[in-house]
Amino acid sequence: MQTPAPFEYEHASSVDEALALLERHGPETRLVAGGHSLLPMMKLRLARPERLVDVNDLTDLAYVRREGDQIAIGALTRHAQLASSPLLASLYPIFQDAERVIADPVVRNRGTIGGSLCQGDPAEDLSAVVATLGGSLKIRSRTGERVVAARDFYLGPYETQVGPAEMVTEVVIPIRPGAGSAYEKVERRPGDWAIAAVGCFLTVSGGVIADCGIGLAAVGAPGLPALEAEAALRGRPAGEEAYAAAAQMAAAHCRPQTDQRGPAEYKRDLVAELTRRALRRAAARVMAGGA
């Protein structure tokens, strides 16, 4: 199949209009951003929304900017913009690490951070990145705005906190001066969905890990944080011993499934190895001056 089942199409010229359309037409209406997750599913007729509301005209939602001690990323920001943002490159190179291995240039030119996070695919790389960094999402409805932590955003695979008449408008990431971050992914071929991937950040003070975050992709819920591993790292001297301990905990914590990308025990072993590597790389970046 290459043609979706019949559907209605409208495009919104403001967030308010998009929300009004969602509310008017009910739950069988879906937003379409880059369309790189939604349209393939519609073409395969795995998704059959009755109506699409195109939000690609909302160009004022495409930005990466510093707002005080936070980075604000508009929901319509494309992968390619994330990959080339100097702000992200200097504060959180984890974004570039991840973007380099997400799909291909065609997908990266269209796909958005809002779509990536709202898709809720357990293998989605940006979900893991935002969860790693303890980011949050601004969700708007006609009646107001709420802010949900990325780590509470997912109810399960392909299920998020976003209600049928709501829309994510912004992703917010706290800035941590001096932090190092990194993303490690193993795929069958570069640009493919992850077999397993691990993101992390570290701040180190006097040789001791002050703060950290670890997020996993493709081995459980979308953007799965490795909470025990994070707890074990905080307050410990940065170094191989700490990383090895965290690696074991992250591996024990994840919930991989056997599928075409490999058996569960392989993915679990990868999580351990990738956690180690990501922590090493993030620590090296701390030493190099926080980038």
Partner: protein
């Protein structure tokens, strides 16, 4: 033959047009009142079709017809089976592929019904509404299981053997008895899909006024689809025209009439509408014939000193649910190259075609050559390892020497020319092999897994030994070439122009190349088996000889002098004794007007060249890689390949072929594998699950060089080159991987070398 133009790295003339988006591929062709066909395909690998309920589909506005097998003309139910000659003792079961499944489906993806509608979208909506009543039957996906008592794919072929052949040469028994050791090997070469960028498609249109059926199709040539369509529909060849527009790649997978083409043709004749079918990627993955799929048991008898004495192979080909005309040919080619580049005095091959409940197999770039090279090159390395001989040394000792050509192998192939030891030496030099070995030693000392692998491969080319060409002169003086084989990425407009420029003494921009329409030029064969330049280029030379000859006759008439006093020089006819000559424009105009010259022949040359045998290209390849045991990732760092393609008409295009096919070779061992459940249900249904690498995915450095020995079989001295990389590279990479894993005692890995498989082999699951 090397002239001022042959041998030059001319840029491809076709690129500007294609890259600027001015190409016209099948789906770009627009037809008035075009209807669209889409197919209802079986979700089950084996089932009885109890009924097809198309009432809801027919009730959909815009739907024109829904047809099943029973609606096809009685003669037009099956694709032709015998399209390519096989040896007389090659037995083939009578299991041709139905155009639409008739009563029984035998693979998931087989077309059961066709829906014709006013638009592709409506056709797809209606496909969704057709209800198939299927009764599942037992099925089998694995070829070895199919032969070991698996459920019959065809009731009338109880043992699932759909073809069988046995080829033997030399005293095989005696040689094995005399051998100091017998090396054993078992190989599983997975199915691959060709994945052309443009999937298959066609437009069929019927003119009742002319009683002419025209099929535009994305195909490797117009000739085979035309013959097969005429055959299927029982029409005179003259009443069928096939036109091949720009083609976005084929790699062997568009080498004939697809069943869907025949359905489109039937619907066009029934409705009087032009009928378009452009398949989706999902359809291509499910229903286009696939390549490789070979299970091989091998025995190699060796002397203590490392002499190769005898080879015995059992090739089980995963034929799939039906036999296409060229399904069995792949095994034939693999057999003919089983002894590779080596002097092995005795050899025996048993070929068994296994029916499975999967889409049929056929040629995919290499088509039997990579399978043969993979097996013999792995076996030679195993022998070297068991005997404690260096892999270079065992090859030097056994390669067919440069002085031995023409060389007849034990299995009956006659290698025309080559210098295999010379290729190997140059590849070792170019790769700085001793340094590679030192780097490996250093890596091993640090506990890293690094490997270096070799392969020497032979590429038979020029199959189906004849080809045609015609040439004429256009009014503006340019020379028009009508080669029998057509282009689908090879660069014919460039290379044929270079050949013709030399033959005619003109610049290539004075040459126009046109092909793909069965109503222009002569009936030809087509582009496959790396044959176009060697066979087609030679036919072109013959055609141009005749054309020049006729130019002299016309000039003699125009100047009123005897032909003997004229000669062809720098693109025109000139008198031997000097004075004004006759330009090509003048010749063309005179021949067109032919006012007072009724007895002179048309200003046109035709050539038909028969290659007296096969031309064997060859290559030597060195691969270097490193394995990351923690993740299982195999990083192939470098491929060095030295190729003997005979005379190289255009080094730039030849290198492009080597690099392109090397990348496909890398993909074949690193990423790609069509996989199925045990019952034949496909697991790889899209590019999400079938991993085709794209440009950024190939980080390997590829170093190429040519070292030609011209073929004595054709005036150009060319040999095939288009398949070399996908033949030698997988074998070299497999040997390098084996070499890297040797410290762990790993004895064998089947491709693809996926991270998970390598992780397991390096002990990941025991950690």
């Amino acid at each position: 033959m090397t002239g001022p133009w042959v041998g030059r790295p001319e840029r491809r003339r076709e690129d500007l047009r294609l890259v600027a988006g001015h190409g016209a591929y099948l789906d770009d062709l627009q037809f008035p009142s075009c209807a669209h066909v889409a197919f209802v395909r079986s979700p089950l690998p084996h089932a009885r079709v109890r009924g097809v309920d198309s009432s809801a589909a027919l009730a959909t506005p815009g739907v024109l017809a829904v047809i099943t097998a029973g609606d096809l003309p009685p003669g037009a139910r099956m694709l032709p089976l015998r399209t390519i000659p096989l040896p007389p003792d090659f037995t083939v079961a009578d299991v041709p592929m139905p155009i639409l499944a008739d009563g029984e489906v035998r693979f998931a993806g087989e077309a059961v019904a066709a829906v014709l509608a006013e638009s592709r979208a409506v056709a797809e909506d209606a496909v969704d509404l057709v209800q198939l009543d299927l009764e599942a039957l037992p099925s089998v996906g694995d070829p070895r299981a199919a032969l070991a008592g698996g459920p019959p794919v065809h009731a009338e072929v109880g043992d699932n053997v759909v073809f069988r052949w046995h080829q033997v040469g030399g005293d095989v028994e005696g040689a094995f008895r005399a051998a100091a050791r017998t090396i054993q090997g078992r190989f599983s070469i997975p199915r691959l899909q060709a994945s052309p960028m443009e999937p298959r498609g066609c437009v069929a249109a019927y003119s009742s006024a002319e009683d002419l059926l025209t099929l535009w199709c994305s195909s490797q040539d117009p000739h085979r689809p035309r013959l097969q369509l005429a055959n299927v529909l029982g029409r005179d060849l003259e009443r069928v025209r096939v036109v091949v527009p720009d083609v976005g790649g084929a790699f062997g997978s568009k080498g004939g009439l697809a069943p869907e083409h025949a359905v489109a043709a039937v619907l066009a004749m029934r409705t009087g509408r032009s009928v378009k079918w452009v398949e989706t990627r999902s359809e291509n993955v499910l229903a286009a014939y696939q390549g490789r799929g070979m299970e091989v048991d091998a025995e190699l008898g060796v002397s203590e000193a490392g002499g190769l004495l005898a080879l015995r192979l059992r090739l089980v080909s995963d034929a799939g649910a039906y036999l296409l005309g060229h399904t069995a040919v792949v095994s034939l080619t693999a057999t003919s190259l089983a002894t590779g580049a080596y002097r092995i005095p005795a050899a025996e091959v048993t070929v068994v075609g296994a029916a499975t409940n999967k889409v049929p197999t056929g040629p995919y770039r290499g088509a039997g050559r990579p399978e043969a090279a993979f097996v013999i090159e792995r076996m030679v390395d195993s022998a070297a390892a068991e005997l404690g001989i260096d892999p270079v040394e065992i090859r030097r000792r056994n390669l067919v020497p440069a002085g031995a050509f023409p060389y007849r192998t034990a299995l009956g192939s006659e290698y025309d020319s080559g210098d295999y030891p010379g290729l190997l030496d140059r590849a070792l030099e170019l790769s700085n092999y001793p340094e590679e070995r030192r780097a490996q030693a250093r890596a091993r000392a640090e506990g890293r897994l690094r490997g270096v692998g070799l392969a020497v491969a032979v590429e038979s080319s020029g199959n189906s030994a004849w080809e045609t060409a015609a040439a004429t002169i256009l009014d503006d003086g340019r020379v028009l070439l009508l080669p029998g084989s057509s282009d689908h990425g090879q660069g014919h407009a460039t290379t044929f122009a270079q050949i013709a420029a030399d033959a005619m003494g003109v610049d290539p921009d004075q040459i126009e190349v046109r092909s793909g329409d069965s109503q222009e030029g002569l009936v030809g064969v087509g582009t496959f088996a790396s044959r176009s330049v060697t066979v087609g280029g030679s036919a072109l030379l013959l055609a141009l000889d005749e054309l020049r000859h006729r130019c002299l006759s016309w000039a003699a008439h125009l100047l009123d002098v005897p032909e003997e006093q004229l000669r062809w020089e720098a693109g025109a006819v000139v008198p031997l004794g000097g004075g004004p000559g006759v330009s090509r424009q003048r010749l063309a105009q005179a021949a067109r007007d032919r006012s007072d010259s009724a007895d002179l022949p048309e200003l046109r040359g035709e050539g038909r060249f028969v290659l007296p045998g096969l031309a064997f290209g060859s290559s030597a390849c060195v691969a270097t890689l490193e394995v990351d045991p923690a993740t299982g990732w195999v990083e192939v760092e470098r491929i060095v390949t030295v190729d003997d393609a005979g005379t190289v008409v255009n080094p730039l295009l030849a290198e492009g072929q080597v690099i392109g096919s090397s990348v496909q070779g890398l993909a074949a061992v690193l990423f790609e594998e069509v996989s199925h459940e045990a019952d034949g249900q496909p697991l790889t249904e899209s590019f999400l699950s079938y991993a085709v690498p794209t440009l950024p995915d190939i980080r390997t450095e590829i170093v190429t060089e040519f070292r030609p020995t011209p073929s004595p079989l054709s005036p150009l001295g060319t040999k095939g080159v288009a398949e070399s990389g996908c033949i030698g590279v997988p074998a070299a990479v497999a040997n390098a991987l084996q070499d890297a894993l040797a410290p762990l005692g790993v004895r064998h890995v089947d491709p693809p070398f996926s991270p998970e498989k390598i992780w397991r082999l390096t002990g990941g699951d025991a950690r």
